[in-house]
């Protein structure tokens, strides 16, 4: 035991509990489920202590384990056909932005001070709210792509969808989030 970086499981909850919980909550959107998966990850970490090399920090190592546990939940959540049922119908809210020939009815509004948004804690809450407004599989697709930065092939495997289908999911997730943020946060911006 010559490593400078030792694991101290008795301090995990106090030192990393909040971060791990928020990580899970941002991906699962459910506090109860988030707590459960954090527990699952901590127990798995305890069992796998021997695999900790000391090259990363304790926290990074724990987040890595949690990440895999969250992906497992995404995988388990998909029953064959389920995605098809939810997503083959047209998305009325998005379609309504266009007229019969596919032109914008009024077009996206100009956002005022988008660079300042992330400095605000309320904006984080609005973002959370908007993510909750997506269907579960849309939110998962968006999370895997834009938060975890996974490539499309990997996401298709996790969610059990085709490339085309993932394209639809991401397009809808982005479109809905864009208009939700516009309505709930950037609404003060002038159009034009």
């Amino acid at each position: 035991m010559t490593e400078t970086c030792l694991l101290e499981p008795e301090h995990w909850v106090e030192r990393h509990g909040d971060v791990l919980f928020r990580y899970a909550l941002r991906r699962l959107g459910d506090a109860h489920q988030a707590e459960n998966v954090v527990q699952e990850a901590l127990l798995a970490a305890l069992e796998g202590q021997g695999r900790f090399s000391g090259r990363s920090t304790e926290r990074t190592w724990l987040v890595g384990i949690l990440k895999h546990k969250v992906l497992d939940i995404f995988r388990r959540g998909r029953r064959a056909g389920e995605v098809e049922d939810i997503e083959t119908a047209a998305d009325q809210a998005l379609d309504d932005a266009f007229d019969g020939r596919g032109h914008w009815v009024s077009g996206p509004a100009r956002w005022s001070q988008p660079d300042k948004a992330m400095e605000s804690r309320q904006f984080l809450q609005v973002l959370t709210l908007c993510l909750e407004g997506l269907t579960q599989v849309q939110a998962q697709a968006f999370t895997l792509r834009e938060m975890d930065g996974l490539q499309t092939e990997e996401i298709c495997k996790v969610l059990g969808v085709s490339t085309t289908h993932l394209g639809v999911l991401l397009h809808r997730a982005r479109g809905r989030l864009r208009s939700c943020l516009e309505g709930r946060w950037f609404a003060g911006a002038e159009v034009g």
Binding site: G17, M147, T152
Partner: protein
Amino acid sequence: MLSCKDTTRLASDAMDRELPFWQRTQLRLHLMMCKHCARYVDQLQKLRVFAGDYDASVGDEEPQGGLDEEAKGRLERALKAKLESPPGNQEDPA
């Protein structure tokens, strides 16, 4: 000529994979001429930045949004139970 509706779909695809040359050209042409779609694409890029920052913000010290005391207690107890159980116990005898 692409419609605006088709353009929004293609613009989303372009964020995830490289489009074939012809689609890429059509998209670029449309965005050069259409202020609305150009703005839409710009906002999707901002959304990507927001998502990255949102995820990174798990490490920020926040007064709320973490585990409550009860949940911490539950996690502590679960860890403690496992720490104190002898290694042999992990295999279910049943």
